[in-house]
Amino acid sequence: MNKIRYLTICFFVVLLIPSVVYSYDILNTQTPSDNFVFFGWPDPPIDLILDPGTLGGSDGRATVETACNVWNSVANTQQLCGNLFAGSEDITVDNFDSAISMNDGIIDVIFDETGAIIAEFGLSPTITLGLSSTLVNALTGEIVDVLMVLNGSLLSSSGSDLQSTTVHEMGHGWGLAHTPIGGINNASTTIGLEPIDPIRIPTMFPFNIPVNDAFGITLEIDDEVGISVRYPRN
């Protein structure tokens, strides 16, 4: 009789576990006292300051505005994106370290037209579509500032969409981490569910969507649940 009881308990434990593992995630870290703190802005909406240079040969402001609208349109979620301001100088590989400010609570958006800034960060500009680096208080998880870099040099490469990358990186800027949902081919070592319809792959999946990367512009339910849990309207 006891065996049946224990097996029943194990069965329900097993049922619970997949729902924990396969979903959106929020950037987090472990504190010295072994607690986990999750990253998040204490008081959105957050303003952004944009590189006045070009992105993929054109004005990147519209791309960032569209990404803002995408995240601000999620139901039951606080308004996250505030005002967009134009920076005073074109940010390049020669001045990026002095031109950005990581302690003013305003997201810095760099249009890396040649990919050279991404290379300065130690990464390959021929494969890195974009990155967001989040400055946080390690004890509280409170986001202090975010640096967002968009690689304009990959615009002509097959299979990538700059708008999708911008929405994705902005998701990191709010504190969302990568989702494991969407592991659709063997080239990806990321754990994922069974192959899913590419149009259903969440925006926060860490790779482009080769079939049509523009699918990443719209959020999927996994993205929306993640952001609404982190920033509930009430």
Binding site: K3, S124, L129, S133, A177
Partner: protein, 226 residues
């Protein structure tokens, strides 16, 4: 559930677990063993792997988006591929106080592709922790001091530091078997046919589980020299 079962089928490390429960019947502890070993193994595996996945999922600070490519493509794009051991890692603010960089220095043990370089190499990667402040890093594995890895390196940047060719494929972890003392590549790789060292007989079409380090290096040289 289907995915979990898939993981179990591929998992060879925990095949022989037996699951015990204790009860306090009759005022003394009684050990209960599942008579059906398959069920016991299944439940034990589920619990162990689930814990593992949960830990993998912890402390997530990665924040990039990249194009997909196989390990073979990463290898072909790399100017240098080296076997190296991490000897130090330090995070600090840059002189302007605007960014935290982590400087990871390696001692090079073998050059797999490219010209023999210096004895030591230092990567400068954005991100790291200084005091109570963390600047989240891209999708690069945390490398511990004294850890042996294979690095896929691209051209040097303006500051003179080599770049990683790929964030996920660009650092392959090596695990030394305590019993045999042999190194094994444990990071999953794709697209590289694996051969026994100095043999033309392929072990498998592509490698997706641990494999002897010398076999992997031999296979990598074969694949990148074609």
């Amino acid at each position: 559930m289907k995915q979990i079962c898939g993981i179990l089928i591929n998992n060879k490390l925990y095949k022989n677990y037996e699951l015990y429960f204790y009860n306090n019947k009759g005022g003394k502890n009684n050990k209960m063993l599942f008579s059906n070993k398959k069920i016991a193994n299944f439940v034990a595996n589920i619990l162990i792997i689930s814990l593992g996945v949960l830990f993998v999922n912890c402390s997530e600070t990665y924040a990039t988006r990249e194009l997909r490519e196989t390990t073979l493509d990463t290898a072909k794009r790399s100017e240098n591929i080296v076997l190296a051991r991490c000897i130090s890692s330090e995070s600090k603010w840059n002189d302007e106080g605007s960014l935290i960089f982590t400087y990871v220095t390696f001692q090079i043990e073998d050059t797999i592709k490219g010209e023999d370089a210096e004895d030591e190499i230092t990567l400068r990667l954005i991100g790291g922790q200084v005091g109570d402040q963390i600047l989240s890093a891209p999708d690069i594995p945390n490398i511990n001091e004294d850890e042996e890895v294979i690095l896929f390196l691209g051209p040097k940047n303006k500051a003179g530091y080599p770049t990683l060719t790929n964030m996920k494929n660009g650092v392959l972890r090596i695990y030394t078997d305590d019993v045999t003392g042999q190194g094994n590549v444990i990071t999953p790789t794709t697209g590289i046919p694996i051969y026994k060292e100095n043999s033309s007989k392929a072990i498998s079409g592509t490698q997706d589980s641990k494999i002897l380090l010398e076999d992997f290096i031999y296979s990598l040289k074969e694949a990148t020299n074609k």
